[in-house]
């Protein structure tokens, strides 16, 4: 369980960055460095698979989408712009967006099923499936510091893959209220988690 150790230097020689520096690894990937991509995989595969599976739920589809996302990282690494956010945030955005797109493209058929399934995601379930307990605990604590409406809005939207309009009707709250609660919630989460910006 040491992603750093798994990154062979191979032909990249002395220019290989500290393996934990995902942004530097991505720059190497953009130049076609397979060893760097191997290292990137080790760093991001678990969170990518985790968030994709949480949104999609179906294990086989989740695996397929995870593969698509990681391949997208390989294909479009040159599009990563360190000036616009961290490498982790970029990869997670690709993952989450693709998972959500997949869910919405099949949502018509299974709308009812997802409505029942999605509505009961309790925030503390976030903690259960995971191994990296420190991070998990911190996120759990910060989610716990939100108001109930903020927390439900965030978990339904981010983990459930719902639009704010769907969240509003699930919670029986005006869409405008949900919109503002989502923003307030993320700002509080950001500050609570001490995300550098």
């Amino acid at each position: 369980m040491d992603p750093a150790g798994g990154a062979p230097a191979k032909d990249s020689g002395a220019s290989v960055p500290a393996p934990t520096d995902l942004a530097a690894q991505l720059r190497l990937v953009a130049r076609g460095d397979a060893a760097a991509f191997d290292a990137v995989y080790d760093q991001v595969a678990a969170p990518v698979f985790g968030i994709v599976r949480r949104v999609i739920r179906d294990p086989a589809q989740s695996e397929e989408v995870t593969q698509d996302v990681l391949l997208e990282v390989w294909r479009s690494a040159s599009a990563f712009d360190a000036g616009r956010g961290s490498a982790t945030a970029w990869v997670m955005m690709l993952a989450h967006r693709r998972a959500v797109d997949r869910v919405r493209s099949v949502q018509k058929e299974s709308e009812r099923e997802r409505r029942t399934a999605g509505a009961d995601i309790p925030y503390d379930e976030v903690a259960e499936a995971v191994e990296s307990s420190l991070e998990r605990e911190r996120v759990r604590r910060c989610l716990g510091s939100l108001t109930e409406l903020q927390r439900e809005s965030v978990t339904l939207a981010y983990y459930g893959g719902y639009t704010y309009g769907q969240v509003a009707s699930l919670l029986g709250v005006p869409a405008g209220t949900v919109k503002t609660r989502m923003r307030d919630a993320l700002i509080r989460l950001r500050d609570c988690l001490g995300v550098a910006n």
Partner: protein, 246 residues
């Protein structure tokens, strides 16, 4: 404007969590492009959502890594942005057409106002112009709108924006050679469906003619221009001065 921007801005949280419909996403991204402060806020909110993803981490199935690395080895990478290939061609074409469309609309309005003042039937001219400009807008904003230019034998250039999905095109001409009063330019659609007269072109103003909308466009059609008796004819009687495959 202020209120609208404010309203858009509240979408920041929903956008950062992808909790937004595709049209809203596109609208917000247009807003983002012109708002650095918003872009910074989105970036910081994305850091927070990335932590939510990290908290959901689960070891991926065995064998996935092998498949991903093998697939990557067989997949061509995108060139860095900024190279010409990074901007889809159709986007640039659309932008060009919108500019051309705005110019055509300005010409149309100018023509209507000038003629209205001079012959005293301004209201008719304007309502005609409005109906026509709606048709023009429909063609110019069509997803498949394509712009072409051509040269007229005997003098002048034409600009055509056509949309097969709208079955119509917009035609404008510049510097057409003036014809004697007894004759005029007639526009035709010629193709497998037969030769169809579109319209007699109105007299040019300030060396500009049109815009004129030709509807009933079918695949395989050509656009043609001939000089005919002022009242128009049912089929071309003189050599074509312009022939553009559409």
């Amino acid at each position: 404007m202020k209120a609208r921007d404010q309203d858009l801005h509240t979408l920041a949280g929903a956008y950062a969590m992808d909790a937004i419909s595709a049209p809203d996403r596109a609208r917000f991204e247009r807003h983002l492009a012109g708002c650095q402060e918003c872009a910074r806020e989105i970036a910081s909110l994305r850091e927070a959502t990335a932590r939510l993803a990290a908290a959901a981490a689960v070891p991926p199935p065995a064998g996935l890594k092998e498949r991903v690395l093998a697939a990557a080895a067989a997949t061509r990478q995108q060139p860095p942005a900024g190279r010409p290939a990074a901007v889809p061609l159709w986007r640039r074409r659309r932008r060009l057409i919108v500019t051309a469309g705005a110019a055509a609309a300005a010409v149309l309005l100018g023509a209507a106002v000038v003629s209205g003042i001079s012959d005293g039937s301004m209201r008719d001219q304007l309502s005609q112009a409005q109906a026509s400009s709606q048709q023009i807008a429909a063609v110019l904003t069509a997803g498949d709108a394509t712009m072409m230019t051509g040269t007229v034998r005997g003098g002048g250039t034409v600009t055509i924006v056509m949309s097969h999905s709208r079955h119509a095109l917009v035609f404008t001409a510049a510097d057409l050679r003036p014809l004697p009063g007894s004759r005029g330019y007639e526009l035709w659609l010629i193709g497998p469906a037969g030769d169809r007269p579109v319209t007699m072109l109105p007299p040019g103003r300030h060396d500009m003619t049109g815009p004129v909308v030709a509807s009933g466009l079918r695949s395989g059609d050509h656009l043609a221009l001939t000089a005919e008796p002022a009242g128009g004819t049912a089929r071309p009687t003189t050599p074509m001065m312009l022939d553009v495959a559409l």
